[in-house]
Symmetry: C2
Subunit: 332 residues, 2 copies
Amino acid sequence: MIRVYTSALFLAGALGISSETLAKEPIEPIEPISAKEINSAQMALGKKLFFDTRLSKSGFISCNSCHNLGMGGTDNLKTSIGHKWQQGPINAPTVLNADMNIAQFWDGRAEDLKEQAGGPIANPGEMAFTHELAIEVLASIPEYAAQFKQAFSTGKIDIDQVTRAIAEFEKTLVTPNARFDQWLRGNKDAITEQELAGYNLFKTNGCTSCHNGAAVGGTSFQKMGVVKPYETENKAQGRAGVTGKDEDRFVFKVPILRNIERTYPYFHDGKAETLTKAVDVMGRLQLGKEFTEKENAKIVAFLKTLTGDQPSFALPILPPSTDKTPQPNPFE
Amino acid sequence: MIRVYTSALFLAGALGISSETLAKEPIEPIEPISAKEINSAQMALGKKLFFDTRLSKSGFISCNSCHNLGMGGTDNLKTSIGHKWQQGPINAPTVLNADMNIAQFWDGRAEDLKEQAGGPIANPGEMAFTHELAIEVLASIPEYAAQFKQAFSTGKIDIDQVTRAIAEFEKTLVTPNARFDQWLRGNKDAITEQELAGYNLFKTNGCTSCHNGAAVGGTSFQKMGVVKPYETENKAQGRAGVTGKDEDRFVFKVPILRNIERTYPYFHDGKAETLTKAVDVMGRLQLGKEFTEKENAKIVAFLKTLTGDQPSFALPILPPSTDKTPQPNPFE
């Protein structure tokens, strides 16, 4: 299932453009994942685990519930729904291209995808399970036991393997080949004049000082509300919760703008329902700039060129539970 | 994506067995769906709708939430979880091979898959939406509008089209090629002696008087508790709710036993967590028979030969909402 493409450099060469051309822009094309970067046994296992609701106490919630791969790797809700319909504290970030983030979660409290993956399973407000019970469930299912053995060459499943496998699958969730990437690689017809004008506004107004790199974000932590404060009822404090420093209040990881047309609603509180609104708020609060309606429309048009090929794979068929598998407890 | 196989008759011919051999057994092999039986445009649309959480008020629940196609077409819960974590009144039946049922729902209140599909969307305890709002959501999404137009050749989406498309997709969810079907078609090595002994017990004890046909069930309504009453706290009354007749109390549609290893827990209340338990209860309550431990194990072994090829298809990528799409209301 892993797509293997030729490298960007090769493509650039074939198209007669130098690698220097690519280097000039603050946004880089997404490189497709190469099979050699991925442990395919761990990835195949992780794909099943990502969809397995038995990693939750209720037996109803999987990773895919809030990071829905048919819906941009998000749930498209302001904040997520957890065990017993608890309202989550923050907007679920997309899992697409998430490996490009400098750290995981809005406040960056997890170093990488592997560390992140363990969080929701044991979070009482999310999947509400324990790592111990998750292992007990998986170990009771012979097909899983065999697949873990194959992927990790040990006879004993542990949470480290579970999160490593999920992370390995998530690493493959990149979205190359966006129209904007085609443009970056030299195909000047890949985007319209309106979209190009939007990109130029995006650059000249300084959006790229935070939203840059291959993921168009995810490379730094920044304060939400630089010029004017951001008003929200959301209680999230951002980096301050991790660093303990007062100056880190309302400092969040800059979200990825790849596939932004699919990852609505926007901001850590999900309060901006449309891109038009999000661009307007960002302009005023972060840049001290009021975009005209036309400028806003151009930037929005540009942002929609960042939608790449969505990961395509067969819905995994999960191995059935056995008489020994602990039962889910949805209503306790 | 639709698998086209040669017909059972042809296979029987090729293997040198007469069609009479096939006809002798009370269980028939599942015929694969042929492409010509399916409207492919409606099916492709229905596949997306089946996975689309925007058909629920919360934006969180799709058909696949309770009829999970990675998990035997069920949620593997005693009773399902609905809007705001409401506890459902009855065990979610599998959607696999469901078109073979004489009617839909445990009480048969829907004539066919199309009629069934409209139920959960508008049920306040399930997806808690309205048909009107569902149409409004779909009509606001240009990709859906175009796909409906292509599938139904009209410019206006209605609920009849929505349910017809979902039903068309569901019709493809058949599971041919179970080991038992291979045996029925003449491959005597496809099942073990233990499994064959289980099948003979299943037949000679009268299980096949209700569990027969290609789906091994779904062909009639029967009382739960023929010889002895079934004790349960579940309030479902069965057919009586549809016919108004007192003699139809606790009369339910006989469930499909295809893929039964994957569709746990069992019975309309989901009270039997294992096949061992289910076989034991069925023996005592329906047949007045106490199976020995060995007999029970043989029948369970036979039942596990009914697992067929699970439907395989790419996880559908759903078209994004637009600024005009009504917002989900998960917490209202």
